[in-house]
Symmetry: D2
Subunit: 364 residues, 4 copies
Amino acid sequence: MSAARSVTRVGVIGCGYWGPNLIRNFARHDGARVVAVCDAQLERAEKMASWYGVPLVTNNATELIESGSVDLVVVATPSRTHYSLAKQAILAGKHVLVMKPMTTQVDQAEELVDLATRNGVMLAVDHTFVYAAAVRKMRDLVVSGELGDVFYVDSVRINLGVFQSDVNVIWDLAVHDVSIVDYVLGGVSPTEVTAVAAAHAGSWAANIAYLTMRYAPDVLAHIHVNWLAPAKIRRTIIGGSRRMVVYDDMHPSEKLLVYDRGVSIAPWSDPEDVYGALVSYRSGDMSAPNLDAREALAVEVDHLLECLATGTPPIADGLAGLRAVKVLEAANLASGTRLSPRANWEGAVDRPALEPIPIDGLAG
Amino acid sequence: MSAARSVTRVGVIGCGYWGPNLIRNFARHDGARVVAVCDAQLERAEKMASWYGVPLVTNNATELIESGSVDLVVVATPSRTHYSLAKQAILAGKHVLVMKPMTTQVDQAEELVDLATRNGVMLAVDHTFVYAAAVRKMRDLVVSGELGDVFYVDSVRINLGVFQSDVNVIWDLAVHDVSIVDYVLGGVSPTEVTAVAAAHAGSWAANIAYLTMRYAPDVLAHIHVNWLAPAKIRRTIIGGSRRMVVYDDMHPSEKLLVYDRGVSIAPWSDPEDVYGALVSYRSGDMSAPNLDAREALAVEVDHLLECLATGTPPIADGLAGLRAVKVLEAANLASGTRLSPRANWEGAVDRPALEPIPIDGLAG
Amino acid sequence: MSAARSVTRVGVIGCGYWGPNLIRNFARHDGARVVAVCDAQLERAEKMASWYGVPLVTNNATELIESGSVDLVVVATPSRTHYSLAKQAILAGKHVLVMKPMTTQVDQAEELVDLATRNGVMLAVDHTFVYAAAVRKMRDLVVSGELGDVFYVDSVRINLGVFQSDVNVIWDLAVHDVSIVDYVLGGVSPTEVTAVAAAHAGSWAANIAYLTMRYAPDVLAHIHVNWLAPAKIRRTIIGGSRRMVVYDDMHPSEKLLVYDRGVSIAPWSDPEDVYGALVSYRSGDMSAPNLDAREALAVEVDHLLECLATGTPPIADGLAGLRAVKVLEAANLASGTRLSPRANWEGAVDRPALEPIPIDGLAG
Amino acid sequence: MSAARSVTRVGVIGCGYWGPNLIRNFARHDGARVVAVCDAQLERAEKMASWYGVPLVTNNATELIESGSVDLVVVATPSRTHYSLAKQAILAGKHVLVMKPMTTQVDQAEELVDLATRNGVMLAVDHTFVYAAAVRKMRDLVVSGELGDVFYVDSVRINLGVFQSDVNVIWDLAVHDVSIVDYVLGGVSPTEVTAVAAAHAGSWAANIAYLTMRYAPDVLAHIHVNWLAPAKIRRTIIGGSRRMVVYDDMHPSEKLLVYDRGVSIAPWSDPEDVYGALVSYRSGDMSAPNLDAREALAVEVDHLLECLATGTPPIADGLAGLRAVKVLEAANLASGTRLSPRANWEGAVDRPALEPIPIDGLAG
């Protein structure tokens, strides 16, 4: 009998900005081997092949997908191509890891989830941040009840960033926060979503957006994303009835601060007495839990290989990808902004901006 | 006649949280004398009188307003009482400084502006932050064109704060940001306003709110206010076509950072080429201008006394107060939240939440 | 019998920079009344008198000291005058609070301690920081053993500051850190002190200095003070065998961080094996205890009035003042720099710089 | 003639902590090829070889040094072995890049410099920080006179760090600051050096040290290094007569701040008038120049390959390495601490601690 876990053979489509990070992490993992790389600009694939000793190099995605030597296809191409490449890979019987957003339409995401189930392959989405130690710790704090009832989540992700050429800032940046909120709250979908967005500097693409997700009448998540901010801020705050947390991804060491602070209505107070002290305070200690220092992408790669070996679904599976796409599509629709330079958003034109979009509940 | 500037005799109604700061600043100014103090809790007024040697002490606001020795009435009472006290003072022929918000209804603000004009007295509102050195500098940068076209203003004002007993967080905190945005943009009103808000911990009062003000299709101001945040953040970002600024009021020294950064569409780019480089960047130096170190309230008091001496209107006059109240009322209406513990917001009940509220233009 | 604590009658000599803060705190305390103020520039004293309703105003310190209405004399004058004014007050039977440094010579400090004891009056020194909540908490952590063995204290106090006209930066700034270290370590004096210093910009006064205090062969305290630094830093680090703390006085909220971090020699390690892992690490959580928010000066004034009422010695008594002066004198001597514009430091000229100066032990 | 720059063939000895970073940078550079790797633990070398496709793998340094296929030998082994390996490589006619510190004795450093000259090979030392954009900018500001006269340099490099097994913290960390100061000041050696150090937690190795370097009576550089600090601080301040800079290496974006601040003696002031205003201030703007974002190590590798191609000496050449070793040896001697676990520092035992050690001038 073999004691050895088998080695997963990985093919990566897309060697632009993010693909090389995936290639490096799979190539440096004992449980994987990068056996094929593909890019429309062949010389980018060739460079990766020479750096990591990859045997199959091509600019033809179909060749990679249909290669018998590939077990897991990684789709690291521009967003609008995710659906068709992932579908092709699933139909070829391959496991698939798709970059975020999983697709740019809800119906396409639903189709991928369905196809993967029927073909018995793993469908994973690269929601990298759910593998970050601080985010995992936030989920623990919420799920264990340490924060008490969650009142709100406020997430900001802004910097002077690259204007993506094929999607706006909602699909490029807010997808991170949407996936963080989804994971931390345990896969619960919001009941409605609204958003505002704006495009500047002559671009077709909205570069600033504010998303509001409502979970219950007084439970909100709010996301601010911005490609055109002078300073880099990545911060998520969760306010709970017992404790609150601040996750500052830019802090070099203490990324997660837990505040033993809260507020409660004094039980004796008279709500009609405008001079009375209505609210009592608790301002206790703050603490920063010591966190796992591994790179999130390394954790993710390790987790996915483990899932493949054991046949268990990954944390960021197709359903998580679908839930995120539902929120993003609703936000894009609500904001009335263009999704991409080619296809204008159907239906966006005539509807009143800012009306909240209901989200159908999903089985978490 | 005498070349000496006369001494303004000041009466202050309200000796709670903010009133003592005003009393101290007027008392320590050579051009003013605090001659009367009033509070419903007489011992608070008496303490102020003993500290600052004030001759008239009372718990009867009418006695202070009608006193022949008072030139300027400062209204530092809970928000819902601003209108009636300010009106009474104006009708008594007194100059008036009202704390923020000037009133809690637009019609009342309009009436005060009208009455002050007709009675020939100064109506000022305590929008303290417009007298802060960093805010004045931001206005200079906008008005002089140094920032280029303003794309957006993003303002955050959150902390673990006092739940006000008579208004929600929109009227308590967002009024600061609304007045900052109003001043920095030169008194231009937004065309529409929307907001979301939520109340927690059993309170009637919304303690978190997000306001969006639209000035042109792609020019936004967005405000996040929160009484229930674990960390204290007060930060305003302005994105312009030529430069951007970050005003961090919590920084002990460099409160205002000016970034020589921007973004522009490369003129040769093909908007349909999704792989093409559409946007060119400029990431230049950052600088922090040296700012006047005086306390904003001291600047304000000095400015108001100068205005009284010269008969010129103050920066934060009744019209500025009215413009702010218009935005706050629209935001409160849009959010569907309660304004105060007593009077529910009429009309809030049946309207769909989040629909933007149009603002009628004002002569800036 | 009377339940009322008697009111202490306070006379303040010196109404320049720091004196007004003391006057304000004594004047606003129920247990004190400021009955006399004195300044060589009479108009400064007169302003204080008019602000706080002080009956006796003078530019003659002797008049204040000998006034029958004064119980406690506060000496808030330039450092070189502390000794003679404090001595005069003690001899007149008055309790005395002297600003830091208590004196500028060890023999003078010893004389004051001796005189106060013999005359049965309180001698207190304004080591304000030992009354700061973060410093009191640091002492608790050391004394309770929570930090384990103290390995080092590192303290930095730098900014673009006022060049004092009568003492150098050692006596002006390092006195704060020396008093903090003294208090936190429980009043233990170092066995030796050394220092380097330099004077710039044509001034006679050293504006930068580094002090090293040695307590045991491997227990150090190090202080960096600087009037000519572009940024303001006030930070003290204590490294202990079990825990470490960082006290950042510039942080607006979390001034004290306690790190559950340490290091220990792996017991199995071979000290001669240069490749072996000699040291094992522990990197646990960080926490920020919630601290008393009162102003240190208010705590000090309250404490001193309580001490006078109960006849107990204050935390910062004459002996604490003396211990600090011993360290400062040794540091000044070791650095070979001038103490003041008038009197050069006798003995500094011919000695080799940097040789450590032994400190005679004091009964803590 | 050939337009192509030839490819430098690199052999790296030492595949522990830092070696892999050098291997990666040389392997990814078009002008170099890593042709040999060596480590006493062969499996570490084998891993590098498999990752980067290196043909020669060995645990025998001599084999690598004498291989005909190697042009440049990179010595990335523990400090005490630098001298012998570098000497062997030079005598074999190879160019050499030695990690910091170049050697652990001055005489050895002098011998290497001499040997390299006589054998006509490049001797470079890996003072990585002199290739960092912020450090290069600091040097520009000093050399161009923008800072005016340099008054002091203050450098702090502390964290909870690895206790090196073969040298103390002076040789491990202070070497960075010594090389930064050397480069920024233009290669001028201090006239004298002193230091204090202490060892804790049962280790033989000093884990905290303070170094003082004197350049002129009132020009100081001071370095604080610490392996046992709870927070990570890497900050260098330079005070000049016209401007000052703060280099904070932990800041994610604005690492270098230039303050237009200074101080000067008012020409009219009377140095004997202790009440007079002796010093006038200038507190102008602060700015953060936009810096080259490349990794310092990549800049260094590129620079070294260019130097080899053109036959010019590198910025951090053998003389720079020697100057650093002179300061470190003097500091270690002055502090009386042990240099290494094996060889105690000869002469350290009997000398009085803290006496400054004179440095013989070097031709910069």
